[in-house]
Symmetry: C2
Subunit: 372 residues, 2 copies
Amino acid sequence: MSFSLGIGSNIRKSPYFDATVADGVQSFSVYNHMYLPGHFGDPQGEYERLINGVVMWDVGAQRQVELQGPDAAQLVQYLCARDVSGTAIGQGRYVPICNHDGNLINDPVLLKLSADQFWLSIADSDIELWAAAIAAERGLDVRVYEPDVSPLAVQGPKAARLTANLFGEWTQELKYFWFRETSLQGIPLVLARSGWSKQGGFELYLRDAARGQELWDIVKAAGAAFDICPGAPNDAERLESGLLSYGADARLQTCPANPFELGLGKLVDLDGPDDFIGKPALLKIKTAGIKRRLCGFVIQGDPVPASEHRVSVMQNDIVVGSISEMACSTRLEKNIGIGLISNTIADDVDNLSVSLDSGLRSITISGLPFIR
Amino acid sequence: MSFSLGIGSNIRKSPYFDATVADGVQSFSVYNHMYLPGHFGDPQGEYERLINGVVMWDVGAQRQVELQGPDAAQLVQYLCARDVSGTAIGQGRYVPICNHDGNLINDPVLLKLSADQFWLSIADSDIELWAAAIAAERGLDVRVYEPDVSPLAVQGPKAARLTANLFGEWTQELKYFWFRETSLQGIPLVLARSGWSKQGGFELYLRDAARGQELWDIVKAAGAAFDICPGAPNDAERLESGLLSYGADARLQTCPANPFELGLGKLVDLDGPDDFIGKPALLKIKTAGIKRRLCGFVIQGDPVPASEHRVSVMQNDIVVGSISEMACSTRLEKNIGIGLISNTIADDVDNLSVSLDSGLRSITISGLPFIR
């Protein structure tokens, strides 16, 4: 199925939108009420460049929620299920965010810019609304807002060399998820060693939307030596790498799930000194026992079409889980998927199946990630 | 510009999705993290059927936030800037919802199903997250969640006859925004006299997602006598009718605006006995004076392309407003738009302009709606 996407005024363009159009973007999705490129006409080539070279991604749709003020640190800790008290300035941390019922509602990277300034670099839900309401209802002295910040990612094994050429050799020493406030030819940005792939790379958090085209052009020009191409967060790679996608693998309204189920239990600090939203609910959930787990699936048979997803996992006509997304992995030469399976099902069962448009398929459970 | 839309697992399909695909949907947008049809290949024909006949729209993306429990009424009033205390069971009301700073964050229709059960039928922002956080932080005894409810709209001058044929003559007496819990061939739904056009019509709030195709087929079959066709919320008609679009004309992150600026001042009850979110901020805003107003614009010259929007309104090289959306109105034989203009600018100035891709255009201010 192929449909056109209406370019309308209720969905926002990223600062790189015109640049991606000029460079041949063919497909978009929508993320945080913003156009997010899907591919530039050669999904397989873009995947291979991500694995073997370097790609540049307009991930401006990964919006920031800034918490700034005397009570910012207190609010951050109250919002996050992870103990973030030890976070250093210049450090980023992956944090599960739950609602009061203990269900995941986002899984951002938290960036600590100063003692009283934080960014939540969010997945696809309106955390600004939620966090601002909590701050106001608790009477905290903190400003919650969306700053003018739009990430551009460079990902792939050659991203480190490219980044060093652009910013200097100090970038080689930057640890994963750490960042520095810097600039590039006068363009203000935050450079972080991060990105939504496991191929290595950086995110350039542009701090002036008016300079999106300029930043795109600089990265593109410097990347030419590495045969850089534009691309987008890649479904096959994220499945191979076992990266969680809030909105696909879990979403409050469509597939509510708690962080224990989603493999994020190690990031939930129930024993910490501080209260956080969802803590009482998560204590109860943990005591009652976790019912499902996130896992990989291998799907037998011909390559699955990318458009099939959200299918029920069956065992003898009983639904025991679901696959939220699947793709054909060319590196593994297998169909792989990610989803939730009941904890009553052992890892090695051999009688699971899914019903696809193309017919019934046998599936097996796999650990995550598929590829380290 | 035309792009394809990736059908992915992080965006949800409506219960009518397969029905719209079978009936030839060509274009989608994304609304509340869900696919929303754009058109079925003949936008002008769909517009004309809306004006002169009857169309059916998959507006499942208009999600409901249900507030249910002993404190539901208290929470509803705290969330809404409008005094809703006099709302009867079976009555709907259009309500501005503001954040603590007094900026609009949604403009739903509130439906009162019982003394302790309400729906907010929302525009495009995650009000469930926001409302649930407020309820929990205030310790209210109310459940906030998204029920299994997906509206199907029939709109146009022939919608009333079609609805009477389907549900009975009592529907002719239903007042605007009022509704009744009923069923159609055993399919549970709420029938409301409402919809996002000014051509008259009803919304069928389907209460069982599994029966979307069935409901679509029933309405389509009964509508055949009226030459019904599938369609979608229509930009030209909404501009002619002066309907506000949260997300386009205002959005917290892109175009923050308060209800006074957006022509919703009459729906803000600052003198009421109850507190509501944003009331102190709105009192200050009103005292300080309102700086902008929502208005219509007439744009001179050739028909404007539908893809142009969010353009600055200029007076002698100074930005004095913005047009959030524009379209060519075939009924008016004019280009029309909607947006915000500074209150320093009189309605009858003759030196305003916008810069479009096709060149500079003179514009004039118009009252709203363009067509009653």
